[in-house]
Subunit: 216 residues, 2 copies
């Protein structure tokens, strides 16, 4: 039996690989593990049957051999622990790769999501413009530190790892991505990751879901 | 040689256990691993020597036997992997405990931090009051789902684990904690965690640092 991911039946990102199933698909493609997808609507995500799998009514979930997991970071780490290729074998390097996963979701991502939420939810508010500079500055602080650390390296810490996979996932969100031109090494880093065949396959698969739903 | 954590020389939380060294201290106390602390000032945190350890100029860092780690979640997980007591031995239960860690820092925490940042940075802005209901509602959505999942269980998934440690750490932040009275099972859950001897020791130690700095 293949593992099963849940994903949006109609993703609000219109298939641009920004929904949270994308990092899980990408990790499964990197390690060569086939998987199945069960699509859910927004209404279904908030129903008890889905919340039994995902307490916050979100996607993705991951089901395999009786295990039910949620949180894209946890799913990606679980996949990386069960297949070679996404975590270094050296114990210290492995711990550092996991540190980059946590940095991606809890340090780099929050100001990006906050800026994104202002665009989505406060665009028509009288304070929208006045809040923009501070929101942008918070994103830039993280991008600048990340750019300084990456330098001219190919990946954050040795070979491509789950740390890079989650960091690139976060950097692709538009509220950060639309500033990346000012950080050429980060822009090149994201482009390198997007060129990986596993990313391409995952991207094509999630886009196909959106296109099928739109055509249906 | 004991592991070394970095922590604020003068914590902005005035020793209330809200700085990011707290979960690392707590985890080390839970597993009975002695540790040393190196205190850093705000200015020192932004200097190259500290940024070589922590790319975003934050605390804590963790140094042990040549390994340098950052991100409190990653440090807590690393400690839990090297000592018994904070991660289930069953592989599936272990993966679920790690899922709760990611849920804590990337799903429960962001709206709490966003509400906190409005209190800290936008208190004097003309839009402060108008934004409050939506900010509060976002926190409540997470608390309600978490409360539903916890139910009348003692901990989130079997015995106390790193998942509880990180979730309680997040729930203790005032911008969420000041709503907990409406979720009695979450309030009791946090109180149970705070009553643990390991929490008490970690709390006392970080408070002693603040009091020594204030007296100095």
């Amino acid at each position: 039996m293949n593992p099963i991911l849940t994903a949006f039946k109609t993703s609000p990102d219109r298939g641009r690989g920004l929904a949270r199933d994308m990092p899980a698909r990408w990790a499964l493609e990197e390690v060569g593990q086939p998987y199945d997808v069960r699509l859910v609507t927004f209404a279904e995500m908030k129903e008890p049957a889905h919340k039994a799998l995902q307490p916050f009514g979100q996607i993705p979930t991951y089901e395999a051999d009786g295990l039910v997991l949620f949180e894209s970071g946890a799913i990606v780490l679980h996949i990386a622990e069960r297949h070679p290729g996404l975590l270094p074998t050296d114990a210290d390097a492995r711990a550092r790769a996991i540190a980059w996963m946590f940095a991606a979701v809890s340090t780099v991502q929050p100001p990006i999501v906050e800026r994104e939420r202002a665009f989505l939810l406060e665009r028509d508010k009288p304070w929208f413009d006045a809040r923009q500079p501070a929101l942008e500055q918070e994103v830039r602080r993280r991008l600048e530190d990340l750019s300084d650390r990456l330098g001219d390296a190919e990946w954050l810490d040795g070979p491509f790892s789950v740390g890079d996979l989650m960091t690139v996932t976060v950097l692709r969100r538009p509220a950060g991505a639309n500033l990346l031109a000012d950080y050429p090494n980060l822009a090149a880093y994201v482009a390198r990751a997007e060129a990986r065949p596993a990313f391409q396959r995952a991207y094509a698969d999630q886009l196909a879901v959106f296109e099928a739903a739109s055509a249906g």
